[in-house]
């Protein structure tokens, strides 16, 4: 009777330990975020094409990177009046893509609730990787990199 109980305990312990190792292995295999989905790729492609038109406006300071992962027309005076509407449309379209991108990544990884965190991660990375001369929002104000 006693030895039965002891061996039951031992087996239970072994079972728990193996379950723990299994879940740890599962966690380890899930450390990468999935970003290679048709939805993400389509948005990426669209943003890449648009970037060719936006790059000049980043450099002139007309468009800046915001702290919340979007872009904004921060100095309309840097854009000739005739182009202003086109730039506004570019900014709006890019922001739409950005928001869709953050949502798409969150959904692709089965965690729609991660959207805000993905957005703030992107915000930091966009700003950190902005090219010299571009304007970025930092600590509530605009800074030229």
């Amino acid at each position: 009777m006693k030895t039965n109980e002891v061996s039951f305990c031992k087996n239970l312990f072994k079972f728990i330990v193996s379950l723990l190792m299994f879940t740890v292995a599962l966690n380890a295999s899930a450390v990468d975020l999935e970003v290679n989905t048709p939805g993400v790729n389509a948005i990426k492609q669209s943003m890449q094409v648009r970037h060719a038109q936006l790059a000049g406006h980043y450099a002139s300071g007309a468009v800046g990177l915001t702290a919340d992962g979007l872009i904004v027309l921060r100095d309309a005076g840097a854009v000739p009046l005739a182009q202003r509407q086109a730039v506004n449309a570019l900014v709006a379209a890019d922001n739409q893509d950005r928001i869709a991108l953050y949502a798409e990544i969150a959904n692709a990884n089965g965690h729609p609730e991660w959207q805000a965190e993905i957005r703030s991660t992107f915000a930091q990375r966009w700003i950190q990787r902005a090219q010299p001369g571009w304007w970025v929002q930092s600590g509530g104000g605009w800074v030229r990199k």
Binding site: M1, K2, E5, V6, F8, C9, L12, F13, I16, L19, L20, T23, V24, L26, N27, A30, V31, D32, L33, V35, V40, K44, M47, Q48, H51, L101, I105, H111, W114, E117, I118, T121, F122, Q124, R125, W126, R129, Q131
Partner: protein, 83 residues
């Protein structure tokens, strides 16, 4: 006869007591194990910040075309010597 009965009774009591201790350990271990397992599962729903940064950098590289091109001078024609 009475003595034998008492000995048996004592033994049964001892076994029951022993069983009680072992069982109590099992019932203490079970909730602990359940807690440990649920903690492991919770790790998964925490936001993987490092992975997100890596993913962001990859996408930013592609959108801004900031990757270093891996074929800088592939199409350079070989220099020809004029005669």
């Amino acid at each position: 006869m009475m003595r034998l009965k008492r000995v048996i009774q004592n033994n049964v009591q001892a076994v029951v007591k022993m069983k009680g201790i072992v069982m109590r350990k099992v019932w203490m271990a079970l909730p602990l194990a359940a807690f440990a397992l649920s903690a492991c599962v919770t790790i998964n729903i925490y936001f993987p910040a490092a992975a997100a940064e890596k993913a962001a950098d990859k996408i930013i590289d592609e959108v801004w075309q900031t990757q270093k091109s891996d074929k800088p001078a592939a199409n350079q024609p070989a220099a020809k010597e004029a005669k």
